[in-house]
Amino acid sequence: MIIKIEKIQHLMGFFLILFTVSLVQAEEQKTRMVTEQAMPETARQVVEQFQSVLLDVMKQGQALGFQGRFDKLAPAITQSHDLTKIARIAVGREWKKLADDQQQELVDQFIKMSISAYAYNFKAYDNELFEFVSQEETARGGIIIHSIFKIPDDKDVKFDYMMKKKGDSWKIINVIANGVSDLALRRSEYTSMLKRQGFEALIAKIIEKTENYAK
């Protein structure tokens, strides 16, 4: 007897890519970005600059090694994402029940895991391409950047970035890959774990994942 996992098979193909996000169009923009490190103006620029770093890291993936990729990605991810806020929303109403030091630990470990996940998954380049499709404004005043991840000899993956203005700059608050919202996924996991097993178990699991990525 063999499991027939047909149902989840399709959605799983792109899980691989869920973190294997994005790339950018213009080479010049990439090099300019690396040298200038200028604050991107528009929501679209924030996304595209982040994607260009990812593309870069993928291209040099093997040479850099895990730690090299981590170091390169860390500033790009923390600048383009509002990770503190994401961590907070990911635990939902449970956030308020956590002590201050617990909140801080959660945020710290969450950021570490997020960067590690990218560093682990973005290790190779196979002529993938990232294309901007459109931009949508939300009722709340946010922006959604719709883009497509093109993989040679495979189906395109839709990547939507939910953006929120923080101070003067736009920050990514959620990534939606082929309809699967990263934040919703995390939120379900985190709130479920907090309820079932408690804070310590959640943190232990996050640390375990982070360590496994680095192996």
């Binding site: 799983m12 309809g179 699967v180 919202s181």
Partner: protein
Amino acid sequence: MRLNQENLTMKTRFLLAFVLFSSLLLGGCASKDVVDSSAEGAVIEPGAELVEDERDPYESFNRKVYSFNNQVDTYVAKPVSDAYLWVTPTLVQTGIANFFSNLKEINVVINDTLQGKFKQGAEDTGRFAVNSTIGLLGIFDVATELGLEKNEEDFAQTLAVWGVPQGSYLVLPFIGPTTSRGIPGSVFDTAANPTTYVGFPVQLVSMLNTRANAEGALNFIDEAALDPYVFTRESFLQHRKFLITDGESEATDDALDLESEFYEDDELLETESENVIETTTQKTEPESKKNSDDVEELNAVSDYEQSKAELEKATLEYRAVSKELEAVQQ
């Protein structure tokens, strides 16, 4: 999403009983408390402590089936699949995957038609014709090369398009994640797949192929998931929704709800910082200043959005009608 309770129709109950029975038979993993908790799941009101997710009222039961399936996978399916992947050259694997995928194309065309997607139906018919002939019985996916992209349609999606509610999330022994709506869907899909009617060896290869294709994704779950059960459920349900809407570009309500929480959280922080009397200027984000006026305002906003959407719809309809009128008058 609030359908679970109403949706416990006779059919669902019957299916549940069936699932329960089969798991008792197959897994021996069901214990007394499985029966108790799943029966309770139907009665408990949403929001009650035991029900964590209203889409998954049978969670404790589902979790047991999930871990049973995992055991079967670890000790049977994965080893066989690994052997298959090791023995078979990649080129052959692709050919086999294409072959079975092509047989499913018949079902895709049927469901295109049932959903009224006639243009896509014609394209998918073209895909099947091209791949079955030039593609040597589907072994080569020539159609994609010619620009006819593969579409994913199945009967569960058709049921959704027809307005059948999703129902509860269920994990079936040997089959995996589905919903109350997915079960009749799978029955139909199986009936419309030629593989069902051929001999055992072909079906075995088909199963191997399915498991082998899922290898990367299953590994990904292992790597990324803190709680693989929840991870699988969440991504399954979300991706099904994506398929039903054919990945329409607008943001989903769920995503927008999450977005709203960011703004509400800002407002909350704002209020909190106001309460802290005369402390040094807290970091406040400019856009959150506009409405720190609590829940009522939020409700008003969402009401407003709703009525705005309705108004837009009405305007469109009005325009269409007035155009017709003009045409008639002329």
